[in-house]
């Protein structure tokens, strides 16, 4: 196993080494993709002006599956919208193949998409969580009237997993002048690489944007993508680095909100702790509020389900291992 890892190590090293040096890469990016801008911390009055007495809302979701293999498990979903002024909105759901209605749902989904029940179940899980998040975000726009809506994650995910609700949210946000931002912690796209493809060495053909962007920006720098360039259809995406952590992150906006991007990134820079991993503190606050933990879920289960049902249907045998 060690030998295998050593081989992997040298392979990866070779691959990373082939990525062009920072200066060259920056030149290429500047010529083909966009302008490097430097974010600035907003003053109190600038923040006030931007928000105009409306709140900031953060949305995040959490999922926890307890139990053994399909169908002997139960999944908890929780989606939270947290306003800086008006408190929280929460949506929860429990989903288990053990319940007939859920099982039928899985069967239908499997038939429609011609996939196995297990695959249908795991796909449904993703969709359910995304849908709940979008639903709670819609409700938050209606109830809180936020100026900025921070979503934890990119827009593509919501668009593909909960397309109808997502469209509803977009319409609502545009109507209400609410700027939605998808904060992407782990960049998983290869759009930049695709554009630069021809200028990169062959060994980079499998690289993702994440590798290219690592360490590229100085803290506070971000990439303002040229207007004519569309990386994601319907969305406007920027890349950048807001803290000392060299890993870059990205922000999705609705295309219609392109003009606000610079101001919003300045604000995100303002509320991102310098020593952190580069994510606005508000996202972390929401995340810590929403997170479902093992303890919590087990407490809920043991206090609400009969012990014999727990043992019969849910308790994974591996939990009983002594070592």
């Amino acid at each position: 196993m060690q030998q295998e890892l050593q081989n992997l190590n040298s392979e990866l090293k070779e691959k990373i080494r082939s990525i062009p040096k920072r200066d060259q890469l920056l030149l290429k990016i500047k010529s083909k993709i966009g302008k490097i801008k430097v974010a600035k911390s907003l003053t109190d009055s600038e923040v006030k002006k931007l928000f105009n007495n409306k709140p900031l809302v953060g949305v995040d979701g959490s999922i926890y599956t307890y139990g053994a293999n399909f169908p002997y498990n139960i999944t908890f979903y929780k989606a939270l919208a947290k306003s800086t002024t008006q408190g929280n909105l929460e949506k929860n759901r429990i989903f288990t193949p053990l319940s007939d209605s859920c099982y039928t749902e899985i069967e239908q989904y499997a038939a429609e998409n011609k996939i196995s029940l297990e695959a249908a179940h795991s796909k449904l899980k993703e969709e359910t969580l995304a849908t709940l998040e979008v639903e709670v975000a819609i409700q938050a726009i209606k109830e809180f009237g936020p100026r900025v809506l921070l979503m934890d994650g990119g827009f593509l995910r919501y668009g593909s997993l909960a397309p109808e609700k997502w469209q509803e949210l977009k319409t609502l946000a545009l109507q209400n002048d609410c700027i939605a931002v998808g904060v992407i912690e782990e960049i998983g796209t290869f759009e930049i690489k695709k554009i630069l493809q021809d200028e990169l060495p062959l060994s980079c053909k499998n690289s993702y944007d994440r590798e290219l962007l690592f360490g590229l920006f100085s803290p506070g720098e971000w990439l303002q993508v040229y207007e004519n360039l569309v990386l994601k259809r319907g969305y406007y995406t920027c890349f950048g680095r807001l803290a000392l952590n060299p890993q870059a992150c990205a922000w999705d906006f609705f295309e219609e909100h392109r003009e606000y991007a610079e101001q919003i990134i300045d604000y995100l820079y303002t509320i991102t702790p310098r020593q952190s991993r580069g994510i606005p503190l508000w996202i972390d606050v929401v995340d810590s509020d929403v997170r479902l933990t093992k303890n919590m879920v087990e407490l809920l289960l043991t206090s609400s389900l009969d012990p014999e049902l727990m043992e019969l249907l849910l308790r994974p045998t591996r939990d009983k291992r002594d070592y």
């Binding site: 911390s41 907003l42 109190d44 923040v47 900031l56 100026r147 702790p273």
Partner: protein, 620 residues
């Protein structure tokens, strides 16, 4: 306030976003199933999950970030969570329900817990910690009975429930220990205790090796409500006002006294004393006379024998003959038992020391009289003398009281009445040390074990509880524990009280004047801040401040007198010396006058001229 996390039948955690918890406060937990149990806060914490300790994973958040969020309405400060670990006052049969709310109690709910007696029926010792917030519900008669004292701030109002010690309960749970290191407020606490005892007119004898138990000076802040203790206590000097009646000594007493006077005594000396001493017959004179004669006899043994058998014997006059015969008789009687003259000289030397202290010139009738009058008697003396004395006095008084009680029981008449009383001493580990013997140890032990029956109680203060005899420590049913740093002492305290490990951990950091009171009478440990003493110790002034004043005062006074005599020449100083002393109203050395004038010259207040007749001093 809400019960959170895990609960047990003894402990719960209570959290609050808004309110900070106070250590030792009582909270009511609204769990109907358990009849709303009460608990005491034994640990408090506050934390803000967004402002964690800086670790590798969690960096400190920059101020600009917080400001950026504040501007849109979110204040991170409000994310602070206060957490209290609460120990239930009574163990439940099952854990408290998680999630129930908690609240502060009102007076009626904790009255039974905190107040066994009203101020007029008990000793008001201080204020119960953690009761400040419910003090507003106190009834009128419990307010302002225990004002507090804070260095630099003076007298402060009572900010909580008064702690009232139910001394009548000592009948079931006798004896009190007061433990604490120096500066912990132990002596202050003892003073407050004694003031309360005087107010209740409980006959008490205090052994005061530090000469600090004087109650005639009113503490500042109490000038408008002076309690006159002057008529309620007497101060007696061991060896001057009170002493030991030699005729009342038992051989054990005498051996003990000799032991205390000069370190230990050898077995030979012990044996010799017991042989020579004739209890109930010997007076000090007869005993010392016999002792010195015997030394004389030993020193001149051969001489006496030789003389007796020589022709010169008949030539001696009658008195001399008698003297030699007496010595011979002594030798015959005691030689086997005593062995050697040096043994006797050792005894004589120790006896002489005691005699010089005046210990045998008086008796303890004054102590007895004062106790009969329900007064507090303070006996002062050096620690070694008190050690001798305490044993003797305690035994004498205890026996007297016991005889009276026994007589009452058996219906015998004729025994004079003697009241119940309390024996108090600071540095108690000197009087009844663990591991070795001391003159008072036996009787202290006896009183600790049996005193309750006769209404004789101990209050023992010490900074070294681990050095106090453990049979006695075990009998101290109420303990006031002040700040203690030594781990051995903390260990002893933990063993001998129901102090919990959390409280034990607080012991080294207790603020001066705060004590844990652990008492079988209360059934639990209560943290109490001792009330302000109404009187002050004669030593309460810092000795260095005193020195400053003292030196300054003396010189200033002398200078103001001298100024009028300037110019002064050396011979004139001798001439006016008497006059100056009269004006000064105290004696002053001529050299001191010269020194002061020299000093004033160096300060430029006086000009010095050398004349053929010595120096002459002029005003500048």
């Amino acid at each position: 306030m809400q019960v959170v996390g895990y609960t047990t039948q003894q402990h719960v955690f209570i959290a609050s976003r808004k309110r900070k918890f106070n250590i030792n406060e009582i909270l009511v937990i609204e769990d109907d199933r358990h009849n709303n149990p009460k608990g005491e806060v034994i640990e408090t914490q506050s934390f803000n999950r967004f402002v964690p300790l800086s670790t590798e994973k969690n960096a400190l958040v920059d101020e600009k970030v917080l400001q950026g969020l504040r501007q849109v309405g979110f204040s991170i400060d409000e994310e602070e969570i206060n957490l209290a670990k609460v120990r239930l006052l009574e163990e439940l049969s099952s854990p408290v329900k998680v999630g129930v709310s908690a609240r502060l109690p009102v007076f009626e709910e904790v009255e039974n817990l905190f107040l066994k007696k009203r101020p007029e029926e008990g000793l008001v010792l201080g204020v119960i910690q953690g009761t400040a917030e419910i003090a507003s519900t106190l009834p009128e008669d419990l307010r302002n009975v225990a004002p507090l004292y804070q260095k630099d701030q003076g007298i402060l109002p009572q900010d909580g429930f008064p702690f009232i010690f139910d001394y009548a309960e000592m009948d079931s749970y006798p004896h009190i220990g007061i433990f604490g290191g120096s500066g912990s407020g132990k002596s202050y606490g003892l003073r407050v205790f004694l003031e309360e005892i005087m107010i209740k007119e409980i006959p008490t004898i205090v052994f005061d090796p530090h000469y600090e138990m004087d109650f005639s000076q009113t503490a500042s802040g109490f000038e408008d409500k002076v309690v006159d203790f002057k008529s309620r206590f007497v101060t007696l000097m061991a060896g001057k006002d009170v002493g030991i009646d030699f005729t009342e000594l038992s051989p054990d007493d005498l051996v003990g006294i000799l032991k205390a006077s000069g370190g230990n005594i050898s077995e030979a000396m012990d044996n010799a004393v017991r042989s020579i001493f004739e209890p109930q017959k010997d007076t000090l004179a007869s005993f010392t006379n016999r002792l010195s004669s015997l030394i004389d006899a030993f020193d001149n043994e051969t001489e006496i024998k030789r003389l007796k058998n020589s022709d010169n014997w008949s030539k001696l006059d009658v008195r001399e003959k008698k003297r030699y015969e007496y010595l011979e008789e002594l030798l015959l009687k005691y030689k086997d038992k005593v062995g050697h003259a040096s043994t006797l000289k050792g005894i004589a030397w120790r006896l002489n020391k005691l005699q010089r202290e005046g210990i045998f010139t008086k008796d303890i009738s004054e102590i007895e009289n004062s106790l009969q009058q329900r007064k507090l008697v303070v006996v002062r003396g050096s620690i070694w003398l008190l050690k001798v004395f305490a044993g003797f006095i305690a035994k004498k008084l205890y026996n007297k009281r016991r005889a009276y009680r026994d007589a009452l029981h058996t219906g015998k008449t004729g025994e004079t009445g003697f009241p119940p009383f309390i024996i108090v001493t600071d540095e108690a580990h000197n009087f009844a040390p663990t591991g070795f013997d001391a003159p008072a140890k036996g009787v202290f032990k006896e009183i600790a074990q049996e005193g309750r029956k006769y209404g004789v109680f101990l209050i023992l203060a010490t900074q070294r509880p681990s050095l106090l005899d453990d049979t006695i420590t075990a009998q101290l049913n109420t303990k006031l524990v002040f700040r203690t740093v030594r781990s051995t002492d903390i260990h002893t305290i933990k063993e001998e009280t129901d102090i919990t490990s959390e409280e034990g951990a607080r012991l080294p950091y207790l603020s001066s004047g705060t004590a844990f009171i652990s008492s079988a009478i209360l059934g639990r440990t209560i943290a109490v801040r001792i009330r302000a003493a109404r009187t002050t110790s004669p030593h309460s002034q810092n000795p260095f401040d005193e020195l400053q004043e003292w030196a300054g005062n003396g010189d200033d006074k002398l200078w103001s007198v001298l100024e009028d005599y300037l110019p002064l020449s050396g011979d004139q100083i001798h001439l006016y010396h008497d006059e100056i002393q009269k004006k000064l109203e105290e004696p002053v050395d001529v050299n001191k006058i010269f020194t002061l004038l020299e000093e004033m010259e160096s300060q430029g207040k006086v000009k010095k001229e050398d004349t053929p007749f010595g120096p002459s001093y002029h005003k500048v």
